[in-house]
């Protein structure tokens, strides 16, 4: 069973890493969600895998390690807060600039998703010189 869990963690990590390397905000956010799953599962696995021994105190029972569970529980909730914030940040960025690129050296107001509204110029292009 351990090998299934380990390979699943590795695959979720790889998916997350691949997605955050994309040039648009939405795949990056999805990638972060994948990474959160992977990291939470990884942390959880640090308590080793145990079947049918939840850490609920009952007479004469054995238990799995409760500490990684407590840590992961807060991690899940915090990662929601982080995802929500980044989603909104990405959304606001898109609404402001009309671009959801994560590469400021390429982003500008004239995007393929819609005509640039009047009154906006291309001065939003920021970032340093293009890398050779």
């Amino acid at each position: 069973m351990e090998i299934l869990v380990a390979s699943a963690i590795g695959l979720m990590t790889a998916t997350g890493l691949f997605l955050i390397l994309q040039g648009r905000s939405f795949p990056v956010i999805v990638g972060l969600t994948f990474l959160s799953y992977a990291v939470n599962a990884f942390l959880f696995a640090m308590g080793r895998l145990t079947v049918d021994r939840p850490p609920i105190i009952t007479a004469g029972a054995a238990y799995t390690d409760p500490l990684p569970q407590a840590l992961v529980l807060t991690a899940i909730v915090i990662s929601f807060g982080m995802t929500a914030l980044i989603v909104v940040l990405g959304l606001r960025g898109f609404l402001e600039t009309g671009s959801d690129r994560t590469d400021l050296s390429l982003a500008n107001a004239a995007e393929e998703h819609g005509p640039a509204p009047a009154g906006e110029d291309s001065s939003r292009e920021r970032g340093g010189a293009a890398r050779a």
Binding site: L4, A8, A14, L17, L21, Q22, V88, L95
Partner: protein, 949 residues
């Protein structure tokens, strides 16, 4: 006790002028003067003890771990410098009151000046070298502020920056040097270090320590080749130039050499480095001073020259030379401060400091001219003035100094320095005050108010008194100070006007004759000099600093080109390299822990996860599909938690996934629905390899851990959960009790995230945004925006869902559940109402404000923690008890439950606020009619006007 008040009084007193400037310039100046005067009074109250040969010490531990103590020491040397700083400071304060223009911010000026004064007193009184460093840096900073006081002027800003970079850079070297010194001596207390000179000089680290300390001292005291910053610092107001750049701050380097003289001086290396640097500075400074046309610049280079003279004397390493150095510090401080102040008066009254536009002022401003010419005579070393005495002592020392076997080098160059000094003194006095009266001065010059010339006159008093009666006036002070520098018995000397026909007298006469000749031929020498290329220090400095800035900009532009993917690729590559390095540099053996058998459901779930992951990677450009696949993965992770004994996690994961998916769907509504494929195949391949290697590493690491046994601190939590925390659900007890601090911080973070989301989705969006989003909205839409079945079901389920939430909340302490999960369940139930009935409908009926819920949640959790203080327990200590009620029976109440209530409220508030804010943006973009009643939707007519294209 009194001792540490001396530096602290001006430091804290700096607030007075800053505040009192509102009460007028006189009040402001008086307050500043009063602060200095009080510090001087404190210092003088210690004088009897110091003159009796005592060393006054106070020490308070500050950061004992790094041997930093708040310790001060007052001996002869410290007293001498502190008195000089305070007395000249007082004169400068009086002078500045009249010098500064009405438009100058005087409060700021005096505040800076007092800060500087305190820092400088700290330098000379510190008995701990780390404390000394702190004050040393403070003098650099306050000097920066004072040089740049006229911040509208470019030269002031440039000069300030240059001074800061040079002295700050030297300070950096000094830190290294002094720390080395402290570690050699085994103590950071100066009084200890001074007693261990032999140990220090024998150490192999002596030379590096010495070189670093000398760099610090030479930059501060403007020694060649660091002398170039001082003339540019003359962009400061004249009182600052007189105070910092002639009398006090530039003497800090010399002070340090004198302070550490017993510990460092007397070796071959000391003599070979310090003496020639001083000599070179003396000659070069005097040479340049002869060709300056700006009075202050001329004085600046003459200061450089005199600082070189003192440095050379200290560098000679003999006791007699040390006495001469101390005597010259005293003499130079008096006549040079007087000269700077006079130059300021000339500038103030005549409107220019350019010698080419001056001359003949003696008839127009007789008081100033007389005072200035007396001071100049002393600077030139004319007999009967104090400058003569110490110059003679210097020449006497130089006369019998042989450097590396060359006997003529020091005597000749010292005479040359004295000769050039006579030259620029003549130039200063004659070209400014003598000669024909002109008619084209920018202002009509006349003597200034008494407040401006009186400080100069007071400085001339010692110039004459010491010159005439050296032994009686300065003998005791010089002996006291020199004794402290040498740290042992004084050599046999006496301060007197006439020493007989000595070599020094011959050299002096030669210098006067040569100097006069040099002054007369100055114009021709200048013309000749202009034919040769001269390195301009400022240009070199600017070029160097511009090159550094340019290189930094290029590097930043290359590293920070604005592409997130590039940054992440770099980070990832470094992490992978580090991981590979760690992996190959350690031995590996297979794990020994028995593995769990693979079951069929587990295999099916694993396969589903693999398919979902691969499909996400390949089809992520279809964003809706990617989102659905993500939730599939989340669901399988939750199933994994169920399988491996983590019911709390499974509940949390499922409910968070629901909320996250809704949130992303709402956001996707306003975002492009697809990602364009832009990356080329090789680029995608590269990203795939990076991601694959990273994932493989994490997977292997997880596998390695899971196949090995390990120890954990879990036993403590399991054992203490029931007796200590009063709950049987250990995970929940950890969250609300053992690690309650973490949880408390976490809900605060959540609250902050929600507030940030609220601010980011502020209704005032740019005008273009609405148009842009409308263009993205799907053209076809279901006719049923609010399907009645969903509306009815959602409303019927609300009380049910709330009841489930309460149930999960209450059982949380003992069974799977708790504040987090209950909060998520309730939040989902509320969101369902938004989905079913629309934003407006819910907003109209909502009684509880989400922000208030977040605030109340964090408040309740915090107050529960604080309540523990009332029982004398640390923050967040929990308690519980068992109570019996009729009918209900015996039940448990824990304070942790109240804390969990805070968690619950925060979670509900954060979730609802985030999603409501998002849906409100959609509402603004695409307003839908608000259904008034549950069944008020007309089913036969279009319920909103067709959208504009």
């Amino acid at each position: 006790m009194v001792l540490w008040l001396i530096p602290l009084l001006p430091l804290f007193g700096a607030i007075l002028p800053a505040l009192l400037i509102r009460s007028g310039r006189d009040v402001c100046a008086n307050a500043t003067g009063f602060v200095s005067l009080a510090a001087l009074g404190l210092l003088l109250s210690q004088a009897p003890a110091v003159f009796a040969g005592e060393v006054v010490r106070v020490s308070l531990p500050w950061v004992p771990q790094i041997q930093l103590s708040f310790s001060f020491m007052l001996d002869g040397l410290g007293f001498f410098f502190a008195a000089m700083i305070l007395i000249i400071g007082l004169l400068v304060i009086v002078y500045a009151r009249f010098y500064l223009d009405r438009a100058d911010p005087m409060g700021r000026f005096y505040a800076y000046l007092l800060l500087f004064q305190g820092a400088m007193l700290g330098v000379v009184l510190s008995n701990n070298i780390i404390l000394l460093l702190v004050f040393w840096e403070l003098t650099s900073l306050t000097s920066f502020l004072l040089i740049g006081f006229w911040r509208h002027r470019a030269d002031a800003r440039q000069g300030a920056r240059m001074a800061l970079i040079v002295t700050g850079g030297g300070g950096l070297a000094l830190i290294g040097g002094l720390l080395l010194l402290g570690s050699i001596a085994g103590s950071y207390e100066i009084s200890e270090i001074l007693a261990r000179g032999d140990l220090i000089k024998a150490s192999p680290l002596y030379l590096p320590a010495l070189v670093l300390i000398l760099i610090g001292a030479f930059t501060k005291s403007a020694q060649f080749p660091f002398h170039f910053w001082l003339p540019h610092a003359m962009a400061a107001p004249t009182p600052v130039s007189a105070y910092l750049h002639s009398a006090t701050m530039v003497k800090a380097g010399i002070f340090l050499l004198a302070r550490l003289w017993p510990a460092l001086a007397g070796t071959e290396a000391w003599f070979l480095i310090v003496a020639p640097v001083g000599l070179a500075t003396m000659v070069i400074g005097a040479w340049i001073a002869n060709f300056r046309t700006d009075l202050k610049s001329l004085l600046a280079f003459s200061t450089v020259s005199h600082l070189g003279l003192i440095t050379m004397l200290l560098g000679l390493g003999t006791k007699m030379a040390a006495v001469a150095a101390v005597f010259h510090i005293l003499n130079h401080a008096t006549f040079k401060a007087a000269l700077f102040l006079s130059a300021g008066i000339v500038d103030h009254e005549a409107g220019t400091r350019d010698v080419r536009r001056l001359g003949g002022l003696v008839g127009l401003m007789p008081i100033t001219a007389t005072l200035a010419m007396l001071a100049t005579a002393s600077m030139a070393g004319v007999p009967l003035f104090n400058g003569f005495l110490s110059k003679e002592m210097m020449l006497e020392e130089a006369a019998h100094t042989s450097y590396a076997g060359v006997t003529w080098l020091f005597p000749v160059l010292a005479t040359l320095g004295a000769l050039l000094s006579v030259g620029y003194c003549a130039r200063f006095a004659i070209r400014t005050f003598l000669g024909p009266v002109r008619h084209d001065y920018p202002h009509h010059p006349h003597d200034p108010p008494v407040g401006m010339w009186l400080p100069v006159a007071l400085l001339i008093v010692p110039v004459l008194a010491i010159g005439l009666f050296p032994g009686a006036v300065a003998g005791a002070l010089v002996a006291l100070t020199a004794g402290a520098v040498i740290g042992g018995p004084l050599p046999d000397y006496y301060l007197a006007l006439w020493h007989g026909l000595t070599p020094a007298l011959v050299m002096s006469v030669l210098a006067f004759a040569g100097g006069a000749l040099f002054f007369l031929t100055q114009a021709r020498v200048d013309a000749l000099r202009r034919h040769f290329p001269r390195p301009e220090a400022r240009d070199l400095f600017e070029a160097a600093s511009n090159a550094v800035v340019l290189a930094a900009r290029r590097l930043t532009a290359w590293l920070h080109d604005g592409s997130l993917a590039f940054y992440l690729r770099v980070i990832l590559a470094v992490l992978i390299a580090a991981g590979i390095f760690a992996m190959v540099s350690a031995p590996h053996a297979a794990g020994t822990r028995a593995m769990l058998p693979v079951t069929l459901p587990a295999l099916v779930a694993w396969l589903a996860l693999v398919v979902a992951c691969l499909a996400t990677m390949m089809r992520h450009s279809d964003r809706l599909l990617a989102l659905i696949l993500t939730s599939v993965v989340g669901l399988i992770v939750a199933l994994g938690f169920v399988q491996f004994s983590a019911p709390d996690l499974a509940l949390t994961q499922v409910s968070v996934d629901v909320v996250t998916t809704i949130l992303m769907l709402l956001a996707l509504n306003l975002l492009p629905k697809t990602s364009p494929r832009e990356a080329s195949l090789p680029a995608r391949g590269r990203d795939g390899v990076l991601a694959g290697v990273g994932g493989l590493g994490i997977g292997l690491l997880a596998y390695a851990v899971m196949t090995r046994d390990g120890t954990s601190i879990a036993d403590y939590f399991l054992a203490q959960s029931k007796p200590g925390g009063g709950g049987t659900n250990v995970v929940n007890v950890i969250l609300v009790d053992f690690r309650g601090y973490d949880t408390f911080a976490e809900i605060i973070v959540l609250g902050i995230a929600a507030v940030a989301i609220f601010a980011l989705l502020d209704p005032r969006l740019p005008a273009g945004a609405l148009k842009r989003v409308r263009a993205l909205l799907p053209t076809q839409e279901s006719g049923d925006v609010h399907p009645p079945m969903l509306v009815v079901a959602a409303r019927a389920m609300l009380p049910l869902a709330l009841a489930v939430g309460v149930f999960i909340f209450l059982r949380g302490h003992n069974q799977p559940g708790g504040g987090f999960i209950a909060g998520l369940v309730v939040a989902i139930a509320l969101m369902l109402q938004y989905i079913a009935s629309g934003y407006r409908w819910v907003a109209d009926r909502k009684r509880l404000d989400s922000q208030a819920m977040i605030g109340a949640g964090i408040g309740i959790a915090g107050l529960t923690g604080i309540a523990a203080w009332a029982f004398g327990k640390p923050f967040l200590t929990s308690t519980f008890g068992y109570f019996t009620w009729p009918v209900v029976g015996t039940f448990e109440l824990a304070s942790a439950l109240l804390f969990d209530l805070g968690v619950f409220l925060t979670v509900v508030g954060v979730m609802v606020l985030s999603l409501a804010q998002l849906s409100r943006v959609g509402q603004r973009v695409d307003p839908l009619p608000t259904p008034e009643q549950p069944m008020d939707l007309p089913l036969d007519a279009p319920h909103h006007p067709p959208r504009e294209a």
